[in-house]
């Protein structure tokens, strides 16, 4: 293992992480909801009366973030290697997997670990291990 110093961004990543935690705190302490993105989006696909507006609003806020950050001069240039087929397979796995597993990086990884949930710890270790194994196979084996 070597460290990728060229791309390593400890301070902006720590600050961005704190902002994510602050957003989760806002949603929890003001609206009483857990900021799990897959759960919020999934709930829109099985809508229940009185449970739709806050979900749409949260997703709307997420979608408005790039424009707001652009106003602050914060752009982002993503590096994406995946082709069409890989994106489709990956998207299907992420959509179905987060539904069956009841959460993703935000719901289990951030909120679940923040509330010291053993269920979320198991889920986080499972998706991290699977992610590491997948990248290992794709980059160093195939």
């Amino acid at each position: 293992m070597t460290i990728d110093w060229a791309h390593f961004t400890p301070w902006t990543s720590l600050a961005g992480g704190a902002l994510i935690g602050f957003a989760a705190a806002m949603l929890l302490l003001l609206s009483g909801r857990v900021a799990g993105i897959s759960g919020i989006v999934g709930g829109l696909l099985r809508p229940q009366r009185g449970d739709v507006a806050w979900r749409l609003a949260f997703v709307g806020g997420l979608l408005a973030a790039p424009a707001a950050m652009a106003l602050l001069g914060q752009g982002h240039a993503p590096r994406i290697d995946a082709g069409f087929g890989t994106l489709v397979v990956a998207g299907l796995l992420v959509g179905a997997g987060t539904s069956y597993g009841s959460g993703c990086t935000s719901g289990h990884g951030v909120c679940g670990l923040s509330r010291l949930s053993p269920r979320s710890l198991v889920a986080t270790l499972a998706f991290m291990a699977a992610g590491v194994a997948t990248v290992y196979l794709a980059r160093h084996f195939l």
Partner: protein, 137 residues
Amino acid sequence: MNALLALAAGLVFGAGLILSGMTDPGKVIGFLDVAGNWDPSLAFVMAGAIVVGFFAFRSAGRRGRTFLGGALHLPNRRDIDARLIGGSVAFGIGWGLAGFCPGPALVSLASGVDQAAVFVAAMLSGMVVYTAAERLR
């Protein structure tokens, strides 16, 4: 009121994802690539988010209500079963393949990244498949 607060929370959440670098799949895969040229940044994102989140959840747990007097909607499941682990493993494989998880994918979709549009369409399809399968159970 709740919708306005949720909008603000979503905006801050998305800003955090962009600032942290998590909307760059190359950075996510760089973190998962522990055997190669490793970018530890994502660990710092998690650490920053969890430290702030820990105090928020502790405060919410002690109060039992929101600051506005509303109810807390917290998950109450504690079971660790095959669905939790199998689903999380499937999610991890998809995450490792493309470098997108749900939040950053939605943010990238809004930035006009074509690949994110493909990924989000497939992700929503995966969620629809789950919803349909659950109805049949």
